[in-house]
Symmetry: C2
């Protein structure tokens, strides 16, 4: 952790196409970029812990980050998984200024780190950026609420089916019905609130409903059947 990198052209391009920045006017975008630093981390590196002062928030450039709660008896519950282009850690800026969850790299990552004090200054002068943050927060809120609804209403196979249908729709696979899971199955299990064994069993069960899986490669042969789970 904390291996500072020079922000290269590619990083810049990724950042400028993120939901946080893609709608900003060029002057503002440049200013926001100036408040960011790029760095990389290894799998398992902890970005921040629950209760720590929130001096930064982050945008993922590559790899995946998991946000999780650690319980008293050592169990972990994933709250979200964030990948390239996604923002995390920004919520604390508007609350008690301490992170409410832990953030860990699920695999090797490259991140842009934003300085909260600088961002506050920018927000005071650029309402456009506040709007962008509103959209990021709204999106995260929707995700969290969907999580609650899914956990409370759906069985494990249904959650997996929904995830696969979502991936099929958003993977840019076009008319192809195959895609690769973007991260390890154990991470997907955590994201869906399942034990890894339950995820595995769900995949097994879904074999009879139009899903073929080998390693991380998924092929959906009958999306209609999948929708009916």
């Amino acid at each position: 952790m904390n291996k500072m990198l020079k922000m290269n052209h590619r990083d810049r391009e990724i950042l400028l196409s993120t939901p946080l920045m893609s709608g900003l006017n060029p002057t503002l975008a440049r200013r926001v970029l100036e408040s960011a630093a790029v760095f990389s981390g290894e799998a398992k590196d902890v970005l921040f812990r629950e209760g720590a002062e929130a001096e930064n928030f982050y945008v993922v450039l590559s790899g995946y980050i998991r946000l999780f709660r650690l319980s008293r008896d050592g169990k972990e519950a994933d709250i979200g998984v964030y990948g390239p282009g996604e923002t995390f850690g920004e919520c604390a800026m508007f609350l008690g200024c301490k992170y409410a969850f832990n953030a860990q790299a699920a695999e090797p990552v490259t991140l842009a780190r934003f300085d909260v004090a600088k961002i506050r200054q920018i927000m005071a002068e650029e309402p456009e950026f506040s709007m962008a943050l509103l959209r990021v927060l709204a999106h995260h809120l929707q995700d969290a609420r969907e999580n609650v609804a899914n956990d409370r209403l759906h069985t494990a196979p249904q959650r997996v089916a929904n995830y696969l249908l979502d991936m099929l729709q958003h993977s840019g696979a076009g008319n192809s019905n195959s895609f690769r899971l973007p991260f390890q199955k154990s991470l997907l299990a955590g994201k869906l609130g399942l034990a890894p064994e339950a995820l595995s069993r769900a995949f097994s069960m879904l074999k009879t409903s139009g899903v073929s899986i080998r390693g991380r490669m998924v092929q959906i042969t009958d999306a209609e059947a999948l929708r009916r789970i």
Copy 2:
């Protein structure tokens, strides 16, 4: 539903003390108030349904509102319960402009309804109001994420215990260790993601851990024991 009321002095006072409005300068506050209309509804009235165009968001003046997801097979999962001073329905304004959940009055309510188009206009001219909305969204996001964590990490008695400790801390009961549950137990069960029977059983179990309950009156005789659940 749709029984329009004249915004009285008390409504105004409540609105001005809500998280959404309490920090606004008087001119802005007045302007925001002008975009609101007050109305009342009966228990069970549906404020909006999932998928409907989000032309308004709301602040509760009295009573309670539940936000819920309705599944294909008719089951309901509560996403949140909002009471006096709390805002709901604002998230959709920043997403696809359709409500993602259903909102229903859990009991007779009085609400302030804000016109989204007018609010957008205000936001474009008053960054201070965007900041207020950011704080509301951040607070809701934190709540939703806590819900996810609680559902995934805690048993029913633990969830109830945590809720009671929270209430004890925030009820303004001072050094008194009694308070009244603000709404029906069936609503509390839904809020905590439990069946009513499970809530009842958890209360029964917690009797051995410093909780005495009669109707909606709760007395906590041993907060330490409760914390250890």
